[in-house]
Amino acid sequence: MTLGNWLALVVALILAAEAVRALRHRALRRERWRRFFRHRTASWGLGILTFLVIVALAAPLVAPFDPNRQLDIVHLTNQPPSWTFLLGTDLLSRDVWSRAVYGGRISLGIGALGALVAVSLGTLVGALAGYYRRWIDAVLMRGVDVGLALPRIFILLMAVALWDGLPFTALVLAIGLTSWFGTSRLVRAEVLALRQRDFVVAARALGVGTSRVIFRHVLPNAAAPIIVSAALGVGNVLLLEASLSFLGIGIAPPEASWGNMIADGAPSIYTAPWSTLFPGLAIALVVMSLNAVADGVRDALDPREDGGVE
């Protein structure tokens, strides 16, 4: 680690703290977001996520080594953490810290994009099924049943066979397109309940068109479960990517992701636990932070918790 790297890291930390502080300051003006920041864990989760995202974005500044370079395959394999190698080196003498930082880009990217694909698709399908009911509902939901019944690993293996190894976009799509079934059921249930609510009937009585009713009157009222499911979805996609990489069908080496770092380090887990421990910790940290943020958002967006007349 050079002085520059440390400096960049400290700056990232300050930026994250400052961003959360600024958000919090703005939030104090709005009751519902004040509720978000009352959750201490939610604030911490948001801070940790912001920090990790900044670090991943600023990877070239924070990482002292090329993540894929084997520094010295004879003398520098499985070095324990030190001032030079912050998190040690792996079996191939690559710097774990640098790989973790660059791997964060891939892992967080897949997590966010995969969850985005999954939640958008799930919300759309769930909303259509729940709002229109009848045969649309029957067809879509039987499709979801089929989707849930098929083992995902099997589908992904098939995708690997089709593409020659999975490029990033294909992996995101493959994961996103096989992860929306749960969300669609959740959204359908919400929409089924909401479509008969008085304010939805009132909106229709005012001549509001169907798509506007769905997107303006129904879905915003289902925002809390959708956002929560998105946040949890990012965590799930992250874990899925890790298990795929562990099986050797995820991100292709030498490119680093947190998942394939664990896979790479697994053979030497007794002699060099740091090469699996730290990417594992990163995944755990992100998933826990996301859960905390999801909790906070759920409370913040619940209009029933809003105070009465101000």
């Binding site: 009911r133 008085d198 009132a202 909106a203 009585a205 005012l206 001549g207 509001v208 068109g209 506007r212």
Partner: protein, 337 residues
Amino acid sequence: MTAPVLLRIRDLRTYFVTEHGKGTARAVDGVSFDLYAGETLGIVGESGCGKTVTSLSILRLVPEPPGHVLPGSLIEFEGRNLLTLPAPELRGVRGNQIAMIFQEPMTSLNPVFTVGNQIAEAAIIHQHLSRRAARARAIDMLRLVGIPDPEERVDHYPHQLSGGMRQRVMIAMALICHPKVLIADEPTTALDVTIQAQILELLDRLQHELGMAVLLITHDLGVVAGHADRLVVMYAGRVVETATTPSLFARPTHPYTEGLLAAVPRIDAPRARLHAIPGQVPAATAWPTGCRFHPRCPYAWEKCVAQEPPLLDVADEPGHTARCWLVTEPERRVAKR
């Protein structure tokens, strides 16, 4: 009545398929009436008589499934049958020419949008106003319905308003496009009595200012007495009596109407046990044969069980009709019980 007919309803039948597909609830079963321009028509009846389903049917808001309006029903508005209108044209009528306010102001507003946004929505859709212009209109409407500090209230969320205020907001939403017909489905039932009076006065005032016809649906005879020009009494999915308000209160002809009026406590009468109509409304899946009121009617005789009367004209009172054989055999009006 010289005013033109705005809304002509003929033989409206709205049925519901009950759970498990076992039976059909005939919630509205052959209802006909006219709404004239500028008048207030009250529809009265107890819970489950089909008032609300009638009002929802007019704008095709009956939840489908399980409900459906039978073919052959007619709801004619300005020469067009609303029941067969294509969806885009129907949306052009909803909120623009026929608007509706609902019973529960607490749940009829979308909790995640400001009241200003919701009031402005209809104006943006139907009159293609810009956001800014629609907001200004929303503020005007809030002022019109008597909400203090409209510039501030426009940005409030529904949960920040009281029940009476929310009902005023609902009225503002419904009236922003100056509809020709306002359907008010129990607009005051969920409010306390002083607020009820304010809301009804507000509706009266707006009706005169905007010159619209109001279809006032209620179970409260006190409400219609002071505010409706004509009344339609419904029982068991049927119209049982229609009359001008004074004539209905002076000479209720159908025994059901009679029972309803007798059940209203009077402040000037000696204190006695309140009158109640015996029995309960039968289930909508199995209406009685003949006159649907006969099991509860104190005057019923064999003919009432066998044959349902048509709406018969009451002598000497134009526009007063009752679905009762007593109109032809008045000497039978002697209580058995």
